[in-house]
Symmetry: C2
Subunit: 552 residues, 2 copies
């Protein structure tokens, strides 16, 4: 199905709804940079360079209290020098409340038209967004382009389309006639989806757009206004999106405060103040588990969280170890393990794994994995292109702190040479070896380029532990390699019972880290990794309430 | 649409799904007793009489620890003398967990077939259920028949059909093929709705079936097992339903512990023990607000609550006061105000209300209302038939305690003569008059035959207070009378903003208390009256989790 031929918002949304129900491959926004023409890359780079060391003037929010900004590039180590307008929390919430009162009265189609227009405007800035993402998150340029550009916009459209469909679930007006013998009782009934109010979207530093736009578009299409509070270290990418939503609103004469950017600094965060404000009814959150659990616990809020998980891989048996190891080493290396979907714990039975009729000993499997991971990091092009840079100094410290723990270090972390950016903050994966009994070491998310090989008694124990981890600590992805159908079934049954999605026998150019819009649910919402899912029906219909009126 | 012609479960469910989306009048189970044939009433009465003073042997649960029962009839004042098998909490939960493991593996269609069969079996016991309901709740026979029989079964079918539809929202199996230049990546994807686990359904004393079956059938169709914990004073009606579900399960060779009855006594309630059990994942609750808020606060549970609300009526202007007063007096009298949907606070402006071009003074409106309420209670047939009996001694005490508060008593409560049951526990409505400023008196739910006339400055103040009440204390219904379209719009906008459904200008044989299956949402879930709604999509899709698996 090709969607680029769609010419109006209705067609774009109809195609998206169809895709959501078909769940085969679909993309409204092609992922290849070449699809956007020859001029787009130059225009994007120019815009980025012109923005550096300047105030971000794209927002239409008025009467700011000050200009602040503290982003710096993980690639150059230098500040971006961009400042953003700041507003008092009360100003933001009052404006959001006022904008909500008008926005909720617009028809679903009016809202949909504006939001699709916003996405089309964002599309024209994919290259600037890519540079902005690269130099705030540390992702490679290509990942920045795809994750923050087409993939994010596809997920935004997915949420929008899901909301659009849910809002039409019941008829707006109905005549209800109840037969009562010779007469009847007639009532006019009206069914309305009433939005909850002001939504808050709390962004993270590593995926400032991809993780934020689904909640934004889900809240907006269902008639809520939103305040977008990015991570103070990754503002620029989402600021562009908010600016384009405001442009689309203004083009239709709608209050631009329907979607506001709320900027703060690491020294003086306003997240809690916003989250606890009584007028804020909806909160979308991506980030660490401790703050996520706090968000979930605030009384009177409907929350949509993506927190941390411990993603496991089980190696049981393979047709051929080589492509398995290739796939797996790439999956753990991609963006230096800074994806919420990256595998962390790799369970290998002490007795080794089957390859056809032979058994590959544990030590050999381990060595193959370690060599492959080391190989990617050492490769002059593939290394920096795959690993990117480390977003935060904290992540680097976490890696280094692991050198002291009670585990065998199979692979020491090193700097990854980057020909383009000599000062890039990089770090190749540290690989540790632990025993199944060492749960204290591997039972929490170790965010960043950290891989643990866990030696288990057998696959049954691997399954038992992986299931327990997902149930207790959450899992966003889970991957297994087995050639035995009974084992595959057991793995699937056990992991799905704790609401972890199972990916089996992945090799080639597709990795467990990738969750495709219009097909894969991202996070199930059923285990501690998060309470929401991009985008199932619940993701949108918790943002409004069905109310039925009756009159004679 | 006539549904009685449907001959198999699939047809019954398809018709129900269509009805849910059409939302015009629909009933699978006709509400008139005559529709069930000549023999049914006699058979039902015989069954009831044979059950009195005997153990309830209909359940298939085995190895009970004891037999207990403490129900008594509000009509005769005598114990029903029925005992039920009791089980340890741990026994119930372990059995529910084991049954869940098998039940979740059945296809949606297998589950649907069993559950429709259960409803058909329940239909054959509507008359016994009516007597059981009358003599535990105090409802009149006709209300007992309709509310616990056809209306309840319709709402059960509605939840079942909603679940059936939601479970088919996404394809079970899909081939995903992503074009990658000259090649492509192909994945087999599987989308599964994984049920949450063991559900607990906590019943109330006044509507033991109507309020319990939607949660039971919603949990069951989505693959969860349920433990039904009725109010110790209203067990018999729902015991029949559980017994018939067990019969339907057994007929298909399925573990009958998929649906268990958990009986306790007022002296030793097991509700908290069940609710807090780690294996219990879903809780449906109907009852008081304090316990409901406790249920909502238990960590790790998905809850569906219906608590108390303060239902308001606004009188602004009428075409003709007489039918308005008739309708309203009946609405407050029905089952002596023991319906969660019964109006409580009637707001009348001090300046009176418009009737066409004239104004009816406040005192006159008040008098008309009081006279009409007194008239119903004093009428030899209409009185007992409408008011029924008082379920609980506590309700009677509440009415009597109001005689001491600082308000004008416009109508004193009295016994309602009942020719059939001389010893019936009855009480006509007490009508109090308060001023708008006396919020301390009227701002909480005063369950039972208690009506408050609240004198306001004007309709604007009536709206302001009614909205505030709904937002702060919840509202399950709201009713207004106005001939002015602008006022109607203001009322609707203000009340829907706090998620209260608005019923306008109701006269004749339909009352605000009635929420029709397949059309009216019961409780919106958006204000403190409860967090769930019979039956919107959220009501079923929070009971399972979409999980997507992928394999090469």
């Amino acid at each position: 199905m090709s969607a680029t031929t769609a010419t109006n918002y209705k067609e774009i949304i109809d195609n998206a709804i169809k895709a959501i129900h078909t769940r085969g491959f679909y993309a409204q926004y092609p992922e290849h940079p070449k699809a956007y023409g020859e001029e787009a890359p130059v225009k994007g780079l120019d815009a980025f360079n012109n923005q550096l060391n300047n105030p971000f003037k794209g927002l239409l929010q008025k009467n700011e209290a000050a200009w602040i900004g503290e982003e710096s590039s993980p690639y150059t180590g230098k500040p971006l020098g961009i400042t953003y307008p700041v507003f008092e929390v009360e100003t933001l919430v009052v404006r959001a409340g006022r904008a909500f009162d008008a926005w909720k009265k617009l028809s679903v189609d009016s809202r949909a038209e504006i939001l699709v227009d916003a996405l089309e405007r964002v599309k024209d800035r994919f290259f600037e967004i890519a540079h902005a993402t690269q130099h705030s998150t540390g992702q490679s340029f290509m990942m920045s382009f795809q994750a923050s550009g087409p993939h994010a916009s596809d997920r935004a459209l997915e949420a929008l389309a899901m909301g659009y469909e849910e809002l039409q679930r019941f008829p707006a007006n109905v005549v209800w006639e109840k037969p009562m013998g010779k007469t009847s009782v007639v009532l006019q009934k009206q069914f309305k989806a009433i939005p909850k109010g002001v939504g808050l979207v709390i962004g993270c530093s590593t995926f400032p757009i991809w993780n934020s736009v689904p909640g934004m578009f889900a809240s907006l299409i269902t008639g809520n206004s939103v305040i977008v509070k990015p991570h103070p270290k990754s503002i620029y990418p989402i600021a562009i999106v908010v600016a384009e939503i405001q442009n689309a609103l203004q083009a239709k004469g709608v209050d631009i405060n329907v979607c506001q950017l709320a900027v703060d600094t690491s020294a003086k965060l306003v997240t809690k103040q916003l989250a606890e404000h009584p007028l804020v009814k909806l909160i979308d959150y991506t980030g660490g588990s401790a703050f996520g659990s706090y968000v979930e616990s605030i009384p009177g809020k409907v929350t949509f969280t993506e927190k941390a998980g411990v993603n496991s891989v089980i190696l049981d048996s393979v047709v051929d170890l080589k492509p398995v190891v290739q796939n797996l080493s790439f999956a753990v290396s991609l963006y230096s393990g800074q994806m919420c979907t990256a595998p962390q714990n790799i369970f290998i039975p002490a007795g080794g794994i089957k390859q056809g009729d032979t058994v590959i000993p544990y030590e050999e499997v381990k060595k193959a994995l370690v060599d492959a991971i080391a190989g990617i990091a050492a490769h002059p092009q593939m290394g920096p292109g795959t690993l990117g840079a480390i977003q935060s100094e904290v992540t680097l410290k976490r890696v280094n702190s692991l050198k002291d723990i009670d585990a065998t270090i199979l692979l020491q972390p090193t700097k990854v040479a980057n020909a383009e950016f000599a000062d890039a903050r990089t770090c190749s994966p540290i690989v540790l070896e632990v025993d199944a009994k060492d749960t204290g070491i591997y039972e929490e998310e170790l965010f960043g380029p950290i891989v643990l090989i866990v030696k288990t008694k057998d696959t049954a124990q691997s399954i038992e532990i992986a299931k327990h981890m997902a149930e207790k600590h959450g899992a966003i992805t889970f991957s297994a390699y087995t050639t035995d159908e009974a084992t595959a079934n057991t793995i699937t049954e056990e992991l799905e019972s704790v609401f972890a999605p199972v990916t089996l026998n992945l090799t080639g150019n597709i990795w467990v880290n990738q969750h495709a819009g219009f097909s894969d649910f991202h996070v199930t919402g059923g285990n501690p990794a998060g309470n929401a899912s991009f985008s199932n029906p619940e993701y949108v219909n918790k943002r409004f309430v069905w109310v039925g009126h009756r009159r004679v």
